[in-house]
Amino acid sequence: MRRSPDQRDDDRLLREGARRFLEETCPWTPCPPDEAAQDAARREMAQLGWFGLGLPEALGGAGADALQALAIIEEAGRVLLRRSLAADVLVAPRLMRDVGGALASLAPGLAAGTVRFALVPENPGTGIGATRTGSGLRLDGRSALALDAGRATHWLVEAGGHSPNGAMLLCVEAHPAVVEMRRLIDGRTGAVLTFDGLALPAEAVLATGHEAVARMAEIRDCAVAALVADSYGALAAGLDLTVGYLNQRRQFGQTLGSFQAVQHLMADAFCDLETLRSLLLWTAAALDGEPAERRRAARTAKVTLGREGLAAASRLIQASGGIAMTEEYRVGHVYKRLQVAAGLHGGTEAQIRELATATLSPEGRPDDEASAA
């Protein structure tokens, strides 16, 4: 486990390479590029090795850790890339490494870019149920919003309500008929999947019972880490843009950036933003550690994304003024990106509630915080 993303030279090279590629090939534009262009960019990412990066060497990968995967996701956030990389860069390689089996056979396709995963979370209200049949399984129920599920070749589906009784983690080949597309406010595309007795082969099952519950928790924590990395990238690029604008735009005979009120607004945004990054690094380090700390880190980061992160995005708009209200300007899109991130994988109040449960029970905080008195 590493605790900083700056320790090794190859980290820096990876990040700089990713930034250069993304800025050149996928620079931000107010309207999303067409599907063909996005597909082409994705093929180039495969050639750059992004999807093989996190695969273990035994599966032909580079064995990269979470910090490196999240660095790429953060860079994609900077250009507000309309495709989510979380499933293919972070989650699927981990699962292939740790679960293996039928899933691992998809590794070459993942690395080559022909296999594309989407994370399909269960909707806590409506639920997804998987039942064994003679030949395999049948799937019923309705998913929560799943980023890019309409473009994936494979879905990583949560089923069974997180209780070991009946919990299953599934890898399902994408099935266009069950997809309801959703255009999101930030220009990305999600989908809600409605399963009505979809028949699956037995090999679709990646884990059941307690293992499935544990894997699903891990996937969710990874998904949250990816949302935070993406959001931090989006905010950091938005902050840079805003500082440049404020130093150039004049009002009342001086630059906007010279007004103390604007300076303090930006200082507050910076405090929010760097706190988010600190929690991202904690979460990244915790992804390979104890599940309890991993969950706590991810929840904390998600709460901070929904509170301080969104507040920072609002502050960038406020400091910029009218221009940030227009669809043509990037900062409004940063705000919408954060708004979507805050709403996915459990809203802020739900995360706070879970954090309360995790930290306020008598044995809540582990020994490591020096709270044993």
Binding site: P124, G125, I185, A261, G322, E327, E328, G343, L344
Partner: protein, 389 residues
């Protein structure tokens, strides 16, 4: 806030309430709930219905065609309109241009322009802001050059809300460069169909079109287009700000939205219990309830002062700051209450109670920026009201 009202005012409220509910077409109420940008046609329809009762220009003086209501009665009327989901009246004609023309316009201007504002036949937009003059209005660069029989206007106006369906613009332009910035401005009436007026839509963060950039390229207006005296435009433009200080608080819309959100949160969700079963959400609603009551009480204080014939006290300067923050807080809560459904573009098919919130929420980021950014308001409060220097 019953305690603030007299028996007569309560009777007035009952009368207005039943009248509004009887007058308001259901489709207009539905459209008002569904989004923040209404079409001209919808706004005009409601305007005309109100005008039939003599209520469209409800805060104009009686001699200008207003109903002669007290400030508290106007408050009640506006509250009832908002509560019934009536479309908002156009801010520019009814709230801004009407009172300005009444106060400073010529007899001919009043006769020509006031009646079609009241009836909803003519719509106005406001040409104050410019790309380099947002909160800093004194730096307006649009010029009006004296020519035989009129003026020629050149320049660019920014953030022109409703410009794309307005018939006329009230336009602030520089008529004198020799004096200090505030002193050389004049107010003109510009026909939006005049040659040289070119309009570009600005799509806002919510994906909607309500704002425009307007280019004025050698636009000729007649002598009768000048409002009041030449070079006195700054004073006229400021007049409104002092006159309608409580309007920017948007207290009635906030109350109505809050009540709608509460009702939504109290209803069972697909496959789950109501949001309001969650104590954390209950607490957030209660805290917002307190803030909203604080704003309502502050607005009423200002209006009671006016009703009792006093100048509004210093509290009048704070309602824009507080009201705008509150509007944002309500829609932020709405986004969390609605959850993932709020993350979709408004075009997606949606439950009526969910429609409109996202668009409103995104557009709401503007309320702490427009009409003098809150930072500017705070500086004004600190300097003018508190006397800090």
């Amino acid at each position: 806030m019953d305690a603030f009202f007299t028996d007569d005012e309560r009777a007035f409220r009952a009368e207005i309430r039943s009248a509004i509910r009887a007058m308001l077409p259901a489709d207009l109420a539905r459209k008002t709930r569904a989004g923040i940008h209404l079409s001209r046609e919808d706004m005009a329809r409601w305007n005309a219905l109100l005008d039939a009762n003599g209520w469209a220009a409800h805060h104009w003086p009686e001699e200008a065609g207003g109903p002669g209501w007290t400030p508290i009665q106007r408050f009640i009327f506006e509250a009832e309109c908002a509560a019934a989901d009536a479309p908002p009246l156009s801010v520019f004609g009814i709230y801004l241009v009407g009172p300005t023309l009444h106060a400073f316009g010529s007899h001919a201007q009043k006769a020509r322009y006031l009646p079609p504002i009241r009836s909803g036949e003519e719509f106005w937009c406001q040409g104050y802001s410019e790309p380099e003059a947002g909160s800093d209005l004194a730096s307006v660069r649009t010029t009006a050059r004296r020519v035989e029989g009129g003026w020629v206007l050149n320049g660019q106006k920014a953030w022109t809300t409703e410009g794309h369906f307005a018939d006329l613009m009230i336009c602030l332009a520089r008529t004198n460069r020799e004096v200090k910035p505030q002193a050389g401005l004049s107010l003109f009436i510009v026909d939006m169909r005049a040659p040289g007026v070119v309009l570009t839509p600005v799509i806002t963060i919510d994906g909607g079109h309500s704002v425009n950039t307007v280019f004025l390229d050698d636009v000729l207006v007649g002598d009768d287009a000048l409002i009041g005296e030449v070079d006195q435009g700054w004073g006229y433009a400021k007049f409104l700000l002092n006159h309608e200080r409580t309007n920017n608080a948007q207290v009635h819309r906030s109350r109505r939205e809050f009540e709608r959100l509460k009702a939504f949160a109290a209803a069972p969700r697909a496959g789950g219990s109501p949001v309001l079963d969650d104590p954390a959400f209950r607490r957030r609603f209660a805290v917002l309830e307190a803030s909203l009551s604080g704003l309502e009480a502050t607005v009423l204080r200002v209006l009671v002062d006016q009703t009792e014939g006093r100048e509004p006290g210093p509290e009048a300067s704070i309602v824009k700051v507080i009201g705008s923050r509150l509007q944002q807080a309500i829609s932020e809560l709405a986004m969390e209450v609605i959850g993932e459904d709020a993350l979709e573009l408004p075009e997606a098919a949606r439950d009526e109670e969910v429609a409109g919130w996202t668009e409103r929420h995104l557009f709401r980021r503007v309320v702490t920026i427009y009409a003098g950014a809150n930072e500017i308001q705070k500086t004004i409060i600190a300097r003018s009201t508190l006397g800090l220097r």
